[in-house]
């Protein structure tokens, strides 16, 4: 009973958080951002049913997202035209069914294999669907896509879903529902078998299960949830475009899930929130923000293969013992982090300055020598003088070596904190 209350408590807290968020961030821009985050959370979690839970690396998950978005747009248009009393909150069901159907169709081809072959088939199927989108114009609508006016549907308890805030609550409700369902799936025997198939498909076969079937079911279900996400995306912007099924969309969800960390259920949620936030804000600072994004992705693959959630979970082991000693332990650890952070930031600043200057000279040399650093007016840099170039390079390289000198300090602090935590745990 206590466990039930405890696990229910998390979801109730999440529901309350969702309800009050628009009051905390009431501006139009933040509501829009949160809508996109909600959609991305569902999409990234559905992706993680493949990569994190079942060990299938897909390069074509946007297929189910995008096709569901198109079916959603067509469903809305059809309901308006034929006068079927279909309220907007039920429309994502159409997306879910679409995602599931295409998951079943394409999954029957691709889930027979695992590993690299699966990844290649998913890529091939994605290219197939994307190329078809340019041919089948009556379904995909060509360049301009299929638009759908969500407000023309029958009202749902008086709401017409014109204002963005109403769409926010619609997305949030579906998001919470999907997150709960996907979490529940990880707790079922099926979810456990998915993990087993990821770890050792041969053994799964020995104990009498069919790993292909397990992958197939997981894949179809992932298609279903991706369909919900795509459907909400189409509702959100009242448009479905060919780019929804494109490689960039598949790449975005892979990035979100991996940056958040695929080893923990909460990882893709963090990743989706961060990636959406960064993709909306970084473009204000730099035209080449996608490059920084790619570098962040590669750095995480190289040095933090469990993503952000992995980094957070690594610190969970220090959170034991009396509260005072916990805080003291974290205080000492973060002190060491601070020592490392200073040269790291210098290195980062130098690198960004260097990259931005190359970009300015290569792309905007005609605009003159002066560059507004990070697109703001308060730092202007003359790219024709030598000083900023030397400064950037020295900060980058010097910062790197200073950063490396700080690693033993961090390692030492980590070790001490670990010993301390073990002592107070025992």
């Amino acid at each position: 009973m206590m466990n039930l209350i405890k696990s229910l408590g998390i979801w109730i807290a999440a529901a309350i958080l969702i309800v009050i968020l628009p009051y905390v961030f009431p501006s139009g821009a933040s509501i829009t951002t949160m809508c996109l985050m909600g959609i991305m959370i569902i999409f990234a979690l559905s992706y993680n049913m493949l990569l994190g839970q079942s060990g299938m690396l897909s390069f074509g998950h946007a297929v189910y997202y995008g096709l569901a978005a198109f079916v959603t747009a067509h469903t809305i248009n059809w309901a308006i035209k034929s006068g079927v009393p279909l309220p907007l909150p039920l429309i994502p069901v159409a997306g879910a069914v679409t995602g599931l159907i295409f998951g079943i169709i394409f999954g029957s081809v691709s889930t027979k294999r695992a590993g690299t072959a699966f990844a290649m088939i998913s890529l091939g199927l994605a290219e197939l669907v994307y190329s078809s989108s340019l041919i089948l114009r009556s379904f995909f609508g060509g360049e301009e896509g299929i638009s759908a006016d969500r407000t023309k549907l029958i009202r749902f308890f008086g709401y017409n879903f014109g204002p963005q805030i109403q769409v926010y609550y619609l997305i949030a409700a579906w998001c919470l529902l999907c997150v709960i369902l996907m979490y529940a799936i990880t707790r079922t025997p099926l979810g456990r078998m998915c993990n087993a198939v990821r770890e050792n498909p041969e053994r799964v076969e020995f104990v009498g299960y069919n790993p292909q079937l397990v992958r197939y079911i997981a894949f179809s279900l992932a298609g279903l949830f991706a369909g919900v996400a795509g459907s909400l995306a189409a509702i959100n912007i009242e448009l479905a475009q060919a780019s929804f099924v494109g490689a960039a969309q598949s790449g975005a969800v892979l990035l979100a899930a991996y940056i958040g960390g695929v080893a923990f259920f909460v990882g893709p949620v963090l990743g989706a929130i961060l990636v959406t936030y960064l993709s909306l804000t970084l473009s204000d600072f730099s035209e080449i923000w996608v490059l920084y994004f790619g570098i962040l992705f590669v750095v995480i693959i190289m040095f933090a293969p469990y993503g952000l959630s992995g980094l957070l979970m690594m610190h969970a082991q220090f959170w034991r013992g009396p509260l005072g000693s916990r805080l003291a332990r974290f205080g000492r650890l973060f002190g060491a982090y601070l020592v490392a952070a200073v040269p790291a930031l210098i290195m980062l600043g130098g690198a960004i300055l260097f990259i931005e200057m190359i970009h300015h000279v290569a792309q905007k040399g005609a605009e003159g020598a002066n560059m507004h650093f990070l697109r703001r007016n308060y730092i202007t840099i003359n790219t024709h003088s030598v000083l900023p170039w030397i400064g950037g390079i020295v900060a980058m390289i010097g910062g790197f070596f200073a950063f490396r000198l700080s690693w033993p300090t961090v390692a030492n602090a980590w070790h001490k904190a670990l010993l301390d935590a073990q002592r107070s745990g025992a």
Binding site: R113, L128, S132, L136, L291, F293, P305, A362
Partner: protein
Amino acid sequence: MAELIIISTLNGVLYGMLLFLMASGLTLIFSMMGVLNFAHASFYMLGAFLGFQISQWAGFIPALFLAPLIAGGIGALVERYGLRTVHKNGHVAELLFTFGLAFIIEEVIQMIWGKLSVDYRVPTWLDFPAFTIYATNYPAYKTFMLVFSIAIFIGLIYLLTRTRAGLIIQASLTHPNMVGMLGHNVPRVFMLVFGLGTALAAIAGVIAGAAYVTQSNMAALLGPILFVVVVVGGLGSLWGAFVASLLIGLLQTFAIASDWSLNKFFGDFITPTRGTLLFDVWTVTIAQIGPILPYLLLVLVLIFRPTGLFGTRET
């Protein structure tokens, strides 16, 4: 008709040989390290842009040699300091690393050369019609591309089968531990093969960039086709990669030249209403579905012959 067939065959073989220049490196790297290098087409693109820049500064011939050298050097560094670090995290991490790398290379190229295509032209001393078939002039540059890529192909076969270095490479494919025991530095062999493979892709980029369009999306357009080639040919099989390259080169070239559609043959019997899905399917020409054909082939091969045409191992 005969004219069309001859020209399409020439163009198809040329495209196929270019594909093979890339696929050979990709498949060598795969059979050594088990990594399908997602960024391989990015090195092709890098080669094209470096070739463009160097030919602006110093002419085409220096570009032909320097650009692959630089791109191969970058490739070797990527292996040494990137892939080797990621290796301990498993194959998925390696594949994702190369995926991220492709992303970065594309962005860096956009950052330096912009998103629009650059003005990379055929060198003037190769810009004349070499011979005429029926009424079509075949450009000298395309003849040069064909000869050059075949020369590289023969050179590669010679290197792999007739030289000591090739022997060590081949041995490292199957018995890396034994080769290591015999005193060869296997990680260095891996690094060099990675460098060689990326340099081959860059050569293809230098010579193809001048004939086709040099733009920052060329890797994204070609990359998936490259995977189709190595998977259809059979992962790790050099011979399979060769056959699949030619097959896909010819397939795509002939498709582009064809205006057949269902409507053309059956249009007299059935004419679907304009604006329906059936109408789209009915009137689409082979030329329009050309871009899809390789992927259809991939899916069919993976269903009916999972090892690929010449592969020995299940992918």
